[in-house]
């Protein structure tokens, strides 16, 4: 007989299974019945913990939000120069995503599925980089450094670069980059970015 789980254990197991399925098939590709079958419980058990599929999906996103990167540590420990800070933030983010690649698959599905809330959620995860680059390059421009650079477009370039590296290593597992670890790849890209904005 299957072991009867405590409510908190049951909730955690539902979230874990739902995350894998949402990551594989997207929000619209998964039904509550399918999640229940995977868990070997009836749909009624799921509805005791979550009022709807949307509620469950949002709870999965909240789980990711709870593991939000702690950039305070990045700021406190280490020099404040633009490139050093950006590198520390990026490596912290990349390592966090690498620990849970389902996040990336959910992000890809969310981009196509049109859920404004999910898209906003994932956009917010990238927001610290966009804001940091725009603000940081703006400050440097006032000091006569990195002049002639459109900070907003530079932020887009950076995000595209790092996101693509994450896809190459964690989603496609591209053979082309098998000789580079994810961290090495990202370090190379950060160095190229800093040269492109005249800081390297």
């Amino acid at each position: 007989m299957a072991k009867r789980l405590q409510a908190s254990e049951r909730r955690a197991s539902i979230l874990a299974v739902a995350k894998v399925l949402f990551a594989d098939k997207g929000y619209h590709g998964v039904s509550v019945d399918e999640i229940a079958v995977r868990l070997a419980v009836s749909p009624a058990v799921l509805y005791r913990h979550f009022s709807s599929k949307q509620d469950l999906y949002e709870a999965v996103l909240s789980e990711i939000a709870c593991t939000r990167e702690n950039y305070v540590d990045v700021v406190v420990r280490g020099p404040d120069d633009f490139g050093g800070m950006l590198a520390r933030m990026t490596l912290m983010y990349v390592e966090s995503v690498a620990r849970d690649p389902d996040y990336l698959r959910m992000e890809l599905h969310a981009a196509l599925e049109g859920s404004q809330a999910a898209r906003q959620f994932f956009e917010n995860r990238w927001r610290p980089f966009a804001d940091y680059i725009e603000f940081g390059l703006g400050e440097l421009r006032k000091e006569g450094v990195a002049t002639g650079i459109d900070a907003r477009i530079a932020a887009l370039m950076f995000q595209g670069m790092v996101r693509e590296a994450l896809y190459a290593k964690l989603v496609y597992q591209a053979d082309r980059f098998r000789d580079h670890s994810l961290v090495d790849l990202v370090k190379h890209l950060i160095a190229m970015f800093l040269r492109a904005v005249k800081l390297g």
């Binding site: 950039y71 540590d73 700021v75 800070m85 927001r127 804001d131």
Partner: protein, 77 residues
């Protein structure tokens, strides 16, 4: 309102910018002086608690004022 020696307006900025700017502002203060920070990022409440814990500065108060979060931090030393 409590007295402060310097003010930092970090409204509209998101993590980690309020923390980074606070770190730079505090570096210009003398020991015992107070920095007042205004921020709108909801994550800033937790962030400034962690910041003070890690830096040894004192978070004298943390609250909301006119739709913004307000923090008073006394520099250690």
């Amino acid at each position: 309102m409590a007295n402060f020696d310097q003010e930092l307006d970090a409204r509209g900025l998101n993590c980690p910018l309020p923390i980074l700017r606070a770190k730079k502002s505090i570096a210009t203060l003398g020991g015992g002086q107070v920095l007042r920070i205004l921020a709108t990022d909801p994550g800033s409440v937790k962030d400034f608690e962690a910041f003070c814990k890690q830096t040894g500065n004192t978070l004298m108060s943390s609250g909301q004022n006119d739709g913004a979060f307000e923090f008073l931090i006394r520099k250690a030393g």
